[in-house]
């Protein structure tokens, strides 16, 4: 298998494959962060998470079209505005959904799964009716297109580096919000004991709504970042939902650090295996490994120790 390559080539392949894994890792982290908040913290199984992502992607697409048509001079910077809009749109939809649907179901977690699945079907059809069934691609500004030449044989795509920086930024801010801010403390209090949190004066309904909104908003940003890597269609979200859930479950549902660690191990395994075999077999082996490990260690990589 390695005979045809020289040692230097092999090194470069591993570096570039590793880098491809890092980009995949960033995308997984972005997708999983929102779900880690919604599923891990609130216990709501949000099957419509992929659709919130796709909403972010469509918002990005619309922003890019708008800038192309009306503000071509500012086109190079549209992406930052698009991400903010994606966050706001998905977050707002998320809060609406929480108010209409989810708040009635906190006591029946399995039913949230069914209800949000219904929601995801409706959103898919809505996207299909509004944006058409064809996949759309976003035109990237010039500065994101090329790739950086690190050495003669190693080059890394700029948009990948951008996604990685973005992921880092969002992860740090989420970690700050959840673990350092007053609001994050309230969220964790509500998660650990809803009744006691209410008793000490936390408005649990409001905390729930904003937490759900935050999770959906991050999904929107993930979708926005995703347009840089792939095209967007009405059913694209469904393709990633299982992966995302596995990342969160594998990491240990209530742990942000676990989510990151599991996203890292899953993405690196998959991208390394992809070099040796077909993409589908690499995926099968990765998922099998994850399911196998989960059977041995159901609480995930990083379990939060709480007394129930």
């Amino acid at each position: 298998m390695f005979g045809d390559y020289s040692l230097g080539d092999l090194g470069s392949i591993f570096v570039m494959q590793g880098f491809a894994g890092l980009i995949l890792f960033s995308v997984y982290v972005l997708m999983a962060l929102g779900l880690a908040i919604i599923f891990g913290q609130m216990g709501v199984i949000n099957m419509a998470h992929g659709e919130f992502m796709i909403l972010g992607a469509y918002v990005t697409w619309m922003t890019s079209n708008f800038f192309q048509a009306y503000l071509p001079s500012l086109f190079s910077g549209y992406f930052f505005l698009a991400m903010i809009l994606a966050f706001v749109a998905s977050g707002a939809l998320g809060m609406l959904v929480e108010w209409v649907l989810i708040r009635h179901l906190y006591k029946r977690p399995l039913d949230t799964l069914l209800a949000t699945w219904g929601l995801s079907l409706m959103l898919q059809q809505a996207y299909r009716s509004v944006f058409g069934a064809r996949e759309v691609g976003v035109e990237l500004p010039q500065w994101m297109l090329g790739s950086l030449h690190v050495t003669d044989s190693i080059e890394v795509p700029i948009n990948g580096v951008f996604v990685m920086c973005l992921t880092l930024l969002i992860t740090i801010s989420v970690a700050y919000v959840m673990y350092k801010s007053r609001w994050g403390r309230q969220v964790r209090a509500v998660v650990q004991n809803r009744i006691m949190a209410g008793a000490v004066g936390i408005n649990t309904e409001k905390v729930d709504r904003y937490t759900y909104g935050l999770g959906c908003g991050i999904a929107g940003v993930a979708g926005s970042a995703f347009t840089m890597i792939g095209s967007t269609g009405p059913t694209s979200g469904q393709l990633y939902i299982v992966d995302t859930f596995l990342v969160v479950v594998f990491g240990g549902a209530a742990s942000l650090l676990g989510t990151i660690a599991s996203a890292f191990s899953i993405s690196q395994t998959q991208s390394t295996l992809e070099f040796f075999m077909s993409g589908s077999m690499a995926k099968v082996l990765t998922l099998l490994a994850v399911v196998g490990i989960l059977m041995l260690r159901p609480q995930g990589l990083f379990a939060l120790k709480v007394r129930k």
Partner: protein, 380 residues
């Protein structure tokens, strides 16, 4: 009407009404094409029935029933495909005597795991045993470690994803995304003409009633009561000295076997099998049927399946745009407003009125024929 342990009177009547509806009313009123559609829908009713036992009674939500449906279906399809790929039928291939998709994928000999499927006895055993053992393995691994609820649902979903990718990826061995098509005969008996479809329909309805009886038996046995107790308060059952894991494994295996029988019926009645019935989306749709019918009702599962599928066919024929809105909305409505589905509506609103209507008189057969019409109405 014998009053034994396993039926109370109204359940027996419900089963008889369903039997009349499926065996007499539908075959008399529908043409063969529509009857074959009903046969296709009823294959999902097996899955829904399994979910009633596993999810409704046991409280174990499996989002991977498509896996078992697929395993059963593929076992049956492999047998039928081998029979359809006899040397005379496939002489234009570069390797005659193997299924066409293998030939297209440059496979020159029948793979080892295909060989036993030349035998019908083995195939029938495999339809029951392969999914059963698979469920046993998953169930043992999960329930012995006390994985339950949402985690179990997500992991079964991952299993469904894995199997779909595997089937699509291994095109030479499984037929890939197109699945196994062009199934022709069962032991020399052609399954494609109209009269064969009618025979297969009745055979399927027979199997369905066997499964209904098994579910009914489980429900009224001590086992069924422990399942319900476990769903309500798992720890107390465990503290009472029962092995909760074993009961869960059993319920899950029963659901898997029912789903597999449904899958095998699907391959027979519809004449093909493809990975599009294995993955996550069909698995969740199967849960929808159960939820709409009422997750606690054995007969509700059958009606729910028929209702959702009739709605799907007619809506997606006339308003393809609206269908997903309808399905999604139905699902949300069922979860929010009618957690017990059709059976809940029936039990809360319709049954009391009928009871009031007939209670002054002695229940007569004619009175129940009326209720059979009302019962069947939602499914039309």
């Amino acid at each position: 009407m014998t009053d034994n342990r396993f039926f109370n009177r109204s359940e027996l009547i419900g089963i008889l009404v369903l039997a009349v509806f499926l065996v007499v009313v539908l075959p008399l009123t529908l043409d063969v094409f529509r009857l074959n559609l009903v046969a296709k829908y009823l294959t999902y009713a097996f899955v829904a029935l399994g979910l009633v036992v596993c999810w409704g009674y046991g409280g174990i939500l499996s989002l991977g029933q498509g896996v078992f449906f697929g395993l059963g279906g593929y076992c049956m399809a492999m047998f039928l495909k081998l029979e359809a790929s006899s040397v005379e039928n496939t002489k234009i291939q570069s390797t005659p005597g193997i299924p066409d998709f293998m030939d297209w994928n440059q496979i020159t000999a029948l793979p080892l795991f295909w060989k036993p499927f030349n035998s019908l006895t083995f195939t029938i055993a495999a339809i029951i045993l392969v999914p059963g053992i698979f469920a046993l393995i998953i169930g043992t691994a999960m329930f012995k470690r006390r994985v339950g609820g949402t985690y179990f649902a997500i992991i079964t979903q991952a299993v469904a994803a894995i199997l779909t990718i595997l089937i699509v990826g291994q095109q030479g061995y499984t037929g890939g995304i197109n699945g196994m098509t062009d199934l022709r005969t069962l032991k020399g008996w052609d399954i494609r003409p109209d009269h064969a479809k009618v025979v297969l329909y009745f055979f399927e309805v027979g199997c369905l009633f066997v499964c209904i009886m098994i579910a009914q038996f489980i429900r009224h046995s001590k086992l069924g009561r422990i399942l319900v107790a476990m769903r309500e308060k798992e720890d107390r059952v465990r503290f009472s000295g029962y092995s909760v894991a074993n009961f869960k494994i059993f319920a899950f295996c029963i659901a898997a076997v029912f789903a597999a029988i449904g899958g095998a019926m699907f391959a027979l009645n519809v004449g093909f099998m493809s990975p599009s019935f294995v993955g996550i989306v069909p698995s969740i749709e199967m849960v929808i049927y159960t939820a709409v019918g009422g997750r606690l009702s054995i007969l509700g599962a059958v009606y729910g399946t028929l209702l959702v599928n009739f709605a799907k066919t007619s809506l997606s024929e006339t308003f393809p745009e609206l269908w997903l809105f309808g399905l999604g909305g139905l699902f949300i409505a069922v979860v929010l407003a009618f957690p017990n589905g059709l059976a809940g509506i029936w039990g809360d609103y319709v049954q009391p009125r009928i009871d009031r209507l007939i209670s002054p008189r002695k229940p007569k057969p004619e009175g129940w024929t009326d209720s059979s019409v009302a019962d069947g109405a939602p499914a039309e």
